[in-house]
């Protein structure tokens, strides 16, 4: 196992540093929002003290990471299919971008087909049947039966 020494910074240390930055930022935000007085705490009172506590806890994580070497960040992803994870995140972001523009039915259909064919490919017929059936089923159940609005997008003239 590749551990964090002087050459590689361990994952624990990186994690601690991120939370240290977070704690300091929250402390500063709380201070700028306004602490108020003890008998009448302001909007930033709890935020400030949470930031102080988070900073203290992050310091203990950092100190512990410096004392005990931990696996390097890259080793956390060794022998994993991290590219597939990144691809799914990217696909979800693209889906979010097009969701309202082209509508639920086309965007969800494309998302399902791509996920089923690209990540761990399933046969085309199975992918098509599941995608069409589930998208139409969900749309019918939510939009028609439960009256929950989903964007119609490109299919608005057909669905109305």
């Amino acid at each position: 196992m590749e551990t964090g020494d002087r050459k590689t910074i361990g994952s624990e240390l990186w994690g601690g540093l991120v939370w240290l930055a977070f704690g300091l930022w929250v402390t500063w935000e709380g201070y700028t929002i306004g602490l108020g007085e003890l008998h009448e705490p302001g909007s930033g009172f709890a935020v400030f003290w949470l930031g102080v506590i988070a900073t203290g806890l992050a310091v203990t994580v950092v100190v512990s990471a410096l004392a005990n070497p931990s696996p390097s960040v890259s080793s956390l992803w060794r022998d994993t299919r991290w590219q597939k994870v990144m691809l799914v995140i990217a696909l979800l972001l693209v889906f979010g971008f097009f969701f309202e523009r082209i509508g639920f039915i086309p965007s969800a259909f494309i998302l399902l087909i791509v996920l089923m064919r690209v990540i761990d490919p399933v046969p085309w017929t199975q992918a098509l049947i599941v995608s069409v059936g589930s998208v139409l089923g969900v749309w019918f159940l939510l939009a028609k039966f439960l009256k929950i609005q989903l964007p119609a997008g490109l299919l608005a003239p057909l669905l109305s």
Binding site: L50, A58, K84, I89, G96, S134, Q149
Partner: protein, 502 residues
């Protein structure tokens, strides 16, 4: 109104067609969620929360509660047949349940799991019905200081019981409270931590946060490796346990029920802890502990009874104090608030229909679950055969639909993806999401009670230690913070530490 007439009123509410349907839908989805590995009750409840908005509050809450205790039932099926726990509380059922299945005794294992769950679930409801009104009367005396200290205790206890470093768990709790404070300050109407985004003025929604941290993050973690499933090939056979099985299971079921109910009521406790505690207890009490791990039916009966009793017991702090003891009930608290209800000591007085309706629906739900779990095992086994490459895109689509429909805002979909990534990274770096979500829900209440207590005491912090209940809670919380510093006790903590939803 005495308990009996209140319960009758509850049955009148629970037996309304819409509430019966909600109860059935809840336990059916709950069982399905319990059966399917890779999607837990938190995700399922978050997913269906928007669906409940169009229904009356009673129906919505009854359905959400049904998903919770339904998932406890369904989780055992996957544990026994596939050796993959459908939800975290069934992890321990894998040990002996799957061994029984490999020995051709899947039927009695599934049968005792369902019957033990039914017994424990029913006892827990009776106890809930008897304990809750008394506790609620007592809780009326709670002031802001008591509420604040109790919430601190709950968060500390959950952090204490979470796997890994306690500093990291507490960091997650701090992060959760900060997230809960995003938006407009309820007292001064001042904007906080919104980055100038209008979408954040009302705060971050619980649905996208929970869906991201549990639903999307779980899928991302699962995708790192191909999931293999070792399904038991032999016939399941008769589900009805033999006379010997009954004799061996009676004691564990009874002890599991008592233990589970007690652990379930504790802030930070829950179904997962109680199932492990029950397994350890049965192994210790057994005259033949060497059979455990090799297909001992006691190892199925005790933990299954315990996790179902805990699911019932967990409703006590929520319904009487308004404080969720674990992350799943935190989501249920979110559902109450979205429906315009405030669980707590006054719920029974102001909304008796809701309180007693939920209690009565749990009796009905338990019977429905027995019917669903005993004859429909074959159907659940078929569900298990759905391959993960087909299942995960569907779960993602349901997550997106659930998040979007909760607020009709695509911004929430992006929030969910962001928290999915955060949740995935948290798992990689050893940070648990459960304290974060509980703190996120409790955050605004925690801050509100802290400020109210300080205003009432004119800025005197002594108010938190002068009041006995508040002082007790803070002392207990302080003890839990000290324990990890003592090496011998820290090792014990590692043994019992669990994530309530991983």
């Amino acid at each position: 109104m005495d308990v009996f007439s209140s319960l009758m009123h509850g049955f009148a509410v629970a037996l309304l067609p819409i509430n019966l349907m909600a109860c059935f839908a809840g336990v059916l989805v709950g069982t399905l969620i319990g059966v399917l590995p890779g999607i837990g009750p938190v995700t399922a409840m978050a997913l269906l929360l928007p669906v409940t908005l169009s229904a009356p509050p009673e129906a919505g809450i009854i359905m959400m509660a049904g998903i919770y205790y339904g998932s406890m039932y369904g989780g055992s099926t996957t544990s026994i047949l596939v050796n993959i726990p459908g939800e975290a509380a069934s992890v321990v059922t894998c040990i002996d349940g799957h061994e029984m299945a490999k020995q051709g005794r899947a039927g009695p294992a599934l049968g005792i799991a369902a019957l033990g769950s039914f017994f424990a679930g029913t006892v827990a409801i009776i106890a809930l019905m008897l304990v809750a009104p008394t506790l609620a009367r007592w809780a009326i005396a709670f002031g802001p200081a008591e509420y604040f200290s109790l919430m601190v205790l709950g968060l500390t206890l959950l952090s204490f019981l979470t796997q890994g470093s306690m500093a990291k768990a507490l960091l997650m709790a701090c992060f959760g409270v900060v997230l809960g404070l995003v938006g407009t300050d309820a007292i001064t109407a001042e904007e906080r931590l919104t980055f100038g985004r209008l979408e954040l003025l009302d705060g971050i929604g619980i649905v996208p946060v929970v869906m991201g941290l549990f639903g999307v993050a779980e899928i991302l973690s699962n995708l790192e490796h191909k999931l293999g499933r070792e399904m038991v090939k032999s016939q399941i056979g008769s589900l009805w346990p033999s006379r010997e099985d009954w004799a061996a299971s009676r004691g564990p079921m009874l002890r599991g029920t008592l233990l589970g109910f007690f652990v379930g009521t504790l802030p930070g406790g829950g179904a997962v802890i109680s199932s492990f505690a029950s397994y350890a207890l049965e192994k210790r009490l057994s005259k033949t502990p060497e059979r455990f791990g090799k297909g001992a039916i006691e190892g199925v009966a005790g933990p299954e009874a315990a996790n179902n009793a805990a699911a019932g017991g967990a409703f006590i702090p929520l319904l009487t104090l308004g404080i969720p003891p674990n992350v799943i009930l935190a989501l249920l608290l979110g559902a109450f608030i979205i429906h315009g209800l405030q669980p707590g000591p006054l719920l029974m007085v102001q909304n008796p229909g809701v309180f007693w309706g939920i209690v009565a629906s749990m009796y009905i739900g338990n019977v429905m679950l027995l019917v669903l779990n005993m004859p429909l095992i074959g159907m659940w086994v078929k569900v298990l055969k759905v391959p993960y490459p087909v299942l995960f895109p569907l779960i993602l689509m349901f997550c997106i639909v659930g998040v979007f429909s909760s607020n009709a805002a695509v911004f929430d979909v992006f929030v969910m993806v962001l928290f999915g990534l955060i949740g995935y990274l948290m798992r990689k770096f050893g940070y648990e999401p459960a304290p974060l979500v509980l703190a996120f829900v409790l955050g605004p209440l925690l801050e509100n009670n802290l400020r109210k207590a300080l205003i009432l005491s004119r800025g005197d912090f002594a108010t938190f230690i002068e009041r006995p209940i508040s002082a007790t809670c803070l002392v207990l919380a302080a003890l839990m913070l000290i324990v990890p510093l003592l090496p011998a006790l820290a090792r014990k903590r590692e043994v019992i530490a669990l994530d309530s939803e991983s």
